[in-house]
Symmetry: C2
Subunit: 252 residues, 2 copies
């Protein structure tokens, strides 16, 4: 990253997130993603210079304009709420939620992402895989860490099945008409992932609602890009302008 | 409720929640539940007297011991975090999240519940349907309200299919061995609901994680009952001691 001009301490932040991704077994979000970050810097899609700026704040809330956000810790009032826009792919959501563990606090972290998910009763990708992460300290150094996309699966899993010529389970994706399909090709060409829960009959609208919740707390709350207005996945002709939501909270 | 001895203003609080439940189409959680509340008072399982007590608080957080909680609003610091234990069935989770809308704020509300859900790779009910609700104000008096159980469906839906002699869709429930089944009888006799996402292949572990998150933020955070230690659904030989989590937050 420094070879393409990223500042030393920004590169270090990224390295920590990516290594944590691999360490936790989210290999899709570890060093595997390096080429994407490098390319984003090379094409100028992602800025090399500058630092995040706090645009607005109250005692326990902040609106941040910038990238590489690490949420400030709100020990005094017991809870904090931070929204950061004008950002880029932030690796695994769990990394940010887990920052709170060091302070014996509960952390939450959500982010909106490029549209890959077709809502229940729809046929267009209008939501990202919008992940939710919650981390809570437990006894003897243990912890509870939830780190999940609100889609049934990641797009990479569908790609893997397609390459192997295998069908996908019912409840992963839909065809261009929004119908649940077991053909990975149809998901990848004009179709899309479906929200966790799968079809309407099995509660896919719940995953849809969770994806919407993440979008409301990220893109919409920050007054930034949201839903299908976020750039397409891996398209590099415009900036991502993603929004992250971080909530670190003390033990009560 | 007043006929069985509930205080006038507690009865009014309950009435408001139940009517809102019916109004929003959650008929299972509306006046339909009245007999349960009446019975809980008659058997002494639910207390008639007393008021909620704030046990511990910081500028923006509170631990409340009591029932019929309506979360205090944290306008000053921009966000608030309240956990209430020693409580009972609180109707629809959405009612509490929606209180924030009146202040043009975003509200969240979760509660733990009696164990009815079998986690992924398990065969015992150790989680409730642990609902998640998030409400956010929108333009022109509109709003976004998510109000969902973290199970694929409510137990009532399975009962309905059983009464009609219909099979249930794959992904609603499992048999006593934890295997996904389409036979509602097996779900109701020794089996259980499965988390939203259904089987492991279709992401049921995500619903399991969300149910756990609710439990961590409710029963465990409050140091109260949790998981399978919560009384069995509709059993009336001991108090419920449920825990609710409420987070009202200002617009940033």
């Amino acid at each position: 990253m420094t070879a393409v001009g990223t500042k030393q301490h920004h590169a270090r932040s990224l390295a920590e997130v990516l290594v944590e991704g691999d360490h936790r077994g989210h290999y899709s979000h570890g060093l595997n993603r390096m080429d994407m970050y490098v390319k984003d810097i090379q094409t100028g899609i992602c800025a090399k210079d500058g630092e995040p700026v706090v645009e607005k704040e109250s005692e326990a809330t902040a609106l941040v304009d910038g990238k590489n956000l690490l949420g400030p810790v709100a020990n005094d009032v017991g809870i904090g709420w931070v929204v950061a826009h004008n950002s880029n792919h932030y690796g695994i959501a769990g990394y940010y939620a887990m920052q709170a563990l060091k302070e014996n606090m509960i952390g939450m972290s959500f982010t909106n992402t490029s549209p890959l998910v077709v809502p229940t009763r729809a046929k267009e990708c209008t939501l990202g895989t919008n992940p939710i992460s919650v981390a809570a300290p437990a006894k003897d150094g243990d912890s509870f860490v939830l780190d999940m996309a609100t889609s049934a699966v990641a797009i990479g899993k569908v790609e893997l099945h397609e390459r192997r010529g295998d069908p996908i389970p019912e409840g992963w994706g839909c065809d261009p008409l929004g119908k649940i399909t077991t053909d990975p090709k149809r998901v990848l060409t004009g179709g899309g992932l479906v929200p966790v829960g799968g079809s309407e009959a099995t509660g896919g609208y719940k995953g849809y609602g969770l994806g919407m919740m993440v979008e409301v707390l990220c893109g919409i709350l920050a007054g930034a890009q949201y839903s299908k207005y976020i750039r397409t996945w891996k398209v590099t002709d415009r900036v991502a302008n993603l929004v992250h939501f971080v909530l670190p909270s003390c033990e009560i």
